[in-house]
Amino acid sequence: MNFFSLAIKNLLRRKIRTTLTILSVAIAISILFSLVAFNRGYEKEMKKELQYLGYHILIVPKGCPYEAASLVLHGGKFPRYLKDEYVEEIKKVEGVKETARLFMNSETDSLLKETKIYFGIDQDYLRFKTRWEFKEGGFFTDDHSVVIGLYVSETKKLKLGDKTRAFGEDFTVSGILEQTGDQDDGFYFLPIKTLTRVSGKEGLLVAVPIRVEDLSKIEEIAEKLRAAETDMNVVSMKEVTGAIMGLVSSTRVLIYAVVLIAILISAVGVLNTILMSVFERTREIGMMKAVGSSRMDIFRLIWYETFIVCLTGGLVGSFLAVAGSSGIEKFIKKLMPYAPGGQLISADLLVIIVSVLFAVIMGILAGIYPAYRASNLMPIEAIRTE
């Protein structure tokens, strides 16, 4: 027998209490684990998605482009549009290499409570989507063709040549995309002219993506575009990335505040449990002192018990978070106005180490006071306690 096994045996004497305390630590640590893993995964996927967009400048109508996109994803309509003729103006700006026309609309089935997102595109858009590959079929064959993402194909059981209805008209699936790992997997792509017509917005666009000749001149070209037309919102990808990452970092502060509160609650719970057990074992501690244990021995014993509870809680919590990560991810994705595709909970070794380390630090801190109290008990007082 050694100190460690004695500490374990002491904890096993009160199985239910120990289990519940471990569970409280596990819950706090699984929250920490999930949020840290999510934060990392979200940032990674967001950056990846922004890179895959394939354009350097995006022209959107005046107003907040992020809010507008979120609105459409939830079945709303764009509040403002760009005029189609702007595209020709944009093309004339020196340094602009490629442009495309984009329109976006959605249709909500109130019965099934689902929203279908439609993207109006033209042939030019394919030059921006260099990663696109067709699993089956190809681009539009006529103005009533639809190209669908893999997720749409799988969930709606749509095959090549099948018909799907949108805005009261039938569209034939002309192509199914290979998995892209981003939002495109869940979109319906329609010919832009058809989508604007059925949406009653002919001659209007929601965005014009731009690629430039020289990457070092992105800001310069963006400035020229800003000067050219006043009701266009010219956003360079650097700005988009910066804005989204800014949002991510402000969310991060909130995330860490939640984690901190969860951990504090759990730490107080651990402290309370161990302190209670110290009070209950006062006579026993007195006996240990009488048979020769030093203050340090008692401190070590109680501290080990706290440490074991927190370490076990940390490991269990990490395991629970890994096991439940796909469920947690689905839940978080549902709550978010916009979530990138791909794996949002990135549970790598570093996250596991950080979570377990947090639990250990929590154990070290929560154990100090009960251990100090126990070690300072005078043997005679402890033995006399009823």
Binding site: M1, N2, F3, L6, K9, N10, L12, R13, R283, E284, G286, M287, M288, K289, A290, V291, G292, S293, S294, R295, M296, D297, M378, P379, I380, I383
Partner: protein, 233 residues
Amino acid sequence: MTKELFNLEGITRIYKRGNEQIKGVDGLTLKIDKGEYISILGPSGAGKTTFLNMLGCIDSPTSGKLIFYPDNGEIIELTRMKENKLDEFRRENIGFVFADFFLLHSLTATENVELPLIFSSGKKVEDGYSKKVLEMVGLGHRLTHKPLHLSGGEMQRVAVARSMVNQPKVLLADEPTANLDTGNSEVIFNLFGELNAMGMTVVVATHAEELAKRARRIIFLQDGKIVEDKGGK
């Protein structure tokens, strides 16, 4: 080498209970030699437990001097020792047996006996030593039993084995048979006799006058004072 083990000079212990002051022991002065077997008798509240607690250094006197003479010829004034040194002193020299046994119910008999050995700088003993000690107290067949599966007498024998495992010089037993029947009390006192015969100094506080007579020296306490010291020098 001196024969003396302890020298108590005017040991007084005053407890405060509210405004009231209670003398646990009052000016105890006596010498205890190495290898003595002493019984402490007296009514409840006479100061028997306080006396043992002073000897075992789990309580410190309000006034007076307690001197210990180890085998190396040193003279140690325990009443001036710091707490960490007293821990060490107890670990090295004192074995305690309590009326309530104080066994840990989650541990087996062997593990309970091993307990003093796991503490820092506990004595290094050969493997299986605790088992040997348990066999010595007649519990070789109960090694893996937990206290709840032992009788009162067996539990007290485990407690005696635990007090012996550090090979102390002195065994202090406070009412060791208070919770035992006559047969088991007999067994425990026989054990004390055997340990004393092996050279251990044994001091037992008890109410059991018949069993107390087995000791060569009997000290009667009343109101914290020695009223009789039979067999003492």
